[in-house]
């Protein structure tokens, strides 16, 4: 997570360097003969996806559009896979020339990137459960938990109207809605049609707003924008775009507006140029709330991991063979698979069996994962206590449980304590992973705010400062404990 943060900060300084050394963008594209475009395969059908019939081959309406634009420019299109939430920083860094991947024209993106004319007009489609009549429209959402994608146009619409629950993937919002974890989902009509409407328990409330997908480029490359706009206009004019959209069954009457798109329309789409909001006290308050969530998840997960890990270590060291085997297998499985995967399985995979809310899942998931690590720390501690200690306890007439409780475990725990503290510091930072199951903690708050204020510098620094403020006292404590143990 820290590495990611550092990268974010580095990305910020990259465009200035890149712009200085490049002659003109079009000259670069022409010389290299390729138009590099960024997108995320995870966005899925019908945007950009791997053709199931031909693995390794890309399919999607944006793939065909990118090919058409490149052809118009006299070059070849080259796809660059990139995490969707990091598309804009990667563009700024110069990883690719354009973003062409359902990137909605949003307030926070205008100004940070240059948008071409739109290539798709989408509707924001509101969906709810069939058995829940409360959701009637955008105005009825006040106080409801409404799912959408992070950093999306819909999330901007929801910010002041509902309690947004932010996802990274397109299937999870509808799964959670169907299971009652949220009350509504607001997402682009293309996504709703593919991933929401097939759910038998869900209903379409209506299309409550409109937005645009456009090609995004660096604002420092105006010649590229002119060329892309010209290419797009030609593709629209000869009906090629309509044909592409028809092939993916996403053409509709809204797209007719693209045929008569004017500069006036373009200005209206972009809205009045707004200065980026400045980070203020309200943001700081959100960060403190995020830090509190990080601390809450970490402390509760650790207080689960410590006794559970102790039970595992005891089972493994002193239990009957079958128990030792089970404990050993648990440790290997939970240490040997990514915690991210475990959180997914617990939250989405097991939802039909146990329906936990996101916070409970986060605590349970991290707690169960860290229990495996704690078990190994304690096992090492137990092994490090000299054998004679238990012999002495037995010789004094102690039973095994009493000897463990009074003699072995207090010593093993003291030996393990520095490692337990280290693990807690690691957990504090690993807790940022729980944002994948919609818990907004410190790191997630940082990325949300960074998009909002269009800069990673202040949010990143504040986020790093808060993490440090939480972890530094702990590492001091670890060192004090170590020193005390060295003396004992």
């Amino acid at each position: 997570m820290w590495a990611r943060l550092l990268l974010c900060v580095l990305f910020l300084f990259a465009p200035a360097l890149a712009a200085a050394s490049e002659p003109t963008a079009m000259a670069r594209v022409k010389t290299s003969g390729v138009l590099r475009w960024g997108g995320d395969l995870q966005g899925g059908e019908p945007y950009v996806y791997e053709d199931p019939a031909h693995p390794g081959q890309l399919s999607g309406f944006e793939v065909e559009l990118a090919d058409a634009i490149a052809k118009e420019l006299g070059v070849r299109a080259e796809f660059h896979q990139n995490d969707w939430s990091q598309l804009v920083p990667s563009l700024e860094r110069g990883t690719f020339d354009v973003i062409l991947n359902g990137l909605e024209v949003t307030r926070s993106r205008v100004g940070r990137v240059a948008f071409s004319h739109p290539y798709y007009v989408f509707a924001e489609r509101l969906m709810a459960r069939k058995d829940d009549p409360r959701v009637k429209g955008l105005e009825s959402l006040a106080g409801t938990r409404t799912g959408t994608l992070s950093n999306s146009f819909a999330s901007e619409l929801l910010a002041t109207r509902a309690v947004p629950v932010l996802y990274e993937g397109v299937e999870e919002p509808y799964l959670d809605l169907a299971r009652g974890r949220t009350d509504a989902v607001l997402l682009d009509d293309i996504i709703a049609a593919r991933y929401g409407q097939p759910h038998a328990d869900l209903r379409v409330v209506g299309d409550v707003a409109e937005g645009y997908y456009a090609v995004a480029m660096s604002p420092s490359e105006p010649d590229l924008k002119v060329a892309i706009d010209r290419a797009l206009a030609a593709i629209v004019e000869r009906g090629e775009l309509d044909a592409i959209l028809r092939r993916y069954a996403i053409d509709n009457a809204r797209q007719l507006r693209l045929h008569s798109w004017s500069e006036k329309d373009q200005r209206a789409m972009l809205g009045a140029e707004q200065a980026a909001p400045v980070m203020g006290l309200s943001h700081v308050w959100l960060f403190i709330k995020g830090a509190f969530m990080t601390l809450l998840v970490s402390v509760l997960a650790m207080s689960l991991a410590v006794p559970f890990g102790m039970a595992l270590a005891l089972g493994r060291s002193f239990g009957p063979r079958w128990l030792a085997r089970i404990a050993g297998a648990y440790v290997e499985v939970f240490r040997g698979t990514p915690v991210l995967l475990q959180l997914y399985v617990l939250y989405y995979g097991l939802a039909s069996v146990v329906r936990l809310d996101a916070l409970a899942t986060a605590i349970l998931g991290l707690g169960m994962n860290y229990a495996a690590y704690e078990a190994e720390v304690y096992r090492a501690g137990i092994a490090a206590v000299p054998k004679g200690q238990m012999a002495a306890a037995y010789a004094l007439g102690m039973s095994t449980p009493l000897a463990l409780r009074r003699v072995l475990l207090p010593q093993a725990f003291r030996l393990a304590l520095p490692n337990v503290t280290n693990d807690f510091i690691a957990l504090l930072k690993d807790s940022s992973l729980v944002s994948v199951i919609t818990v907004v903690e410190l790191t997630k708050q940082m990325t949300i705010t960074a998009v909002d204020v269009r800069s990673f510098v202040l949010p990143g620094a504040l986020c790093a400062g808060l993490y440090f403020a939480m972890s530094y006292p702990l590492s001091r404590l670890a060192r004090v404990l170590e020193a005390r143990l060295a003396r004992a």
């Binding site: 200690q389 004094l396 007439g397 009074r406 207090p410 010593q411």
Partner: protein
């Protein structure tokens, strides 16, 4: 008071105790001597079940257990451990407890003696072994001789009927041995039943009522100190004693 009947123990194909039978009486101080690997320590550790054996029986007063580890065996062993104190070669004091904490631990948590009473008795015992000034010291703060004396006080705190001591001075500097031997001499004079594994021949001759020589898991000599040490019947004992 303690009797071992036809005890056998093997480590792999090496026989450590070979069908051995012996009896120790109340008030008797017995020294077990003999070459390393002769089975002295193993014999001692079998008495309170720190070591398992393949066949035979261990009896302490009215309690007996065999090699099978049946529930009855385990009950008898647990009761025997309360009656027989054990002092280890390398002390094995509880590293996380003070001298007094070590002495009080078992009375308070095994016998449920009230805290005040256990403390008072613990202080008295530490005074008896000459450590009244080290009551609050931790094991790592004490010399080997001090630790071994705490270990003896710890065993005595359970008011055992007999004390088993496994080479109590062999891990100590020669200069530190006398302080431990002095404590043991006092206990012997008080009529405490003791079985002692030792290499200190002079001390064994001085305090023991009886000396038993073990060799290859068998008893090769058993009698009063004068008889065993001065006029051994067995050739191996004579060789060991350099006679």
């Amino acid at each position: 008071m303690i009797s071992l009947t036809r005890l056998s123990k093997r480590y792999g194909d090496r026989t450590v105790l070979d069908d051995l039978s012996i009896r120790f009486d109340k008030g008797e101080v017995t020294s077990l001597v003999g070459p390393s690997g002769g089975g002295k320590s193993t014999l001692l550790r079998c008495v309170n079940g720190l070591e398992r054996f393949e066949s035979g029986e261990v009896r302490v007063q009215d309690l007996a257990f065999g090699p099978r580890g049946s529930p009855a065996d385990r009950r008898a062993l647990a009761a025997i451990r309360l009656r027989v104190g054990f002092v280890f070669q390398d002390w094995n004091l509880f590293a996380h407890r003070t001298a007094l904490g070590n002495v009080m631990e078992a009375p308070v948590h095994v016998k449920k003696v009230p805290l005040d009473e256990a403390k008072e008795r613990g202080m008295a015992l530490l005074e008896k072994v000459g450590l009244a000034h080290r009551v609050l010291a931790y094991p790592h703060e004490m010399s080997g001789g001090e630790q071994q004396r705490v270990a003896i006080a710890r065993a005595l705190a359970m008011d055992p009927d007999a004390l088993l001591l496994d080479e109590p001075t062999s891990a100590l500097d020669p200069s530190r041995r006398s302080e431990v031997l002095e404590v043991l001499r006092t206990l012997a004079n008080e009529g405490c039943t003791m079985i002692l594994v030792t290499h200190e021949m002079a001390f064994a001759r001085d305090v023991s009522h009886r000396i038993v020589v073990l060799h290859g898991g068998q008893i090769v000599e058993d009698g009063a100190p004068g008889q065993v040490l001065d006029a051994p019947k067995d050739a191996r004992t004579r060789a060991m004693l350099g006679l």
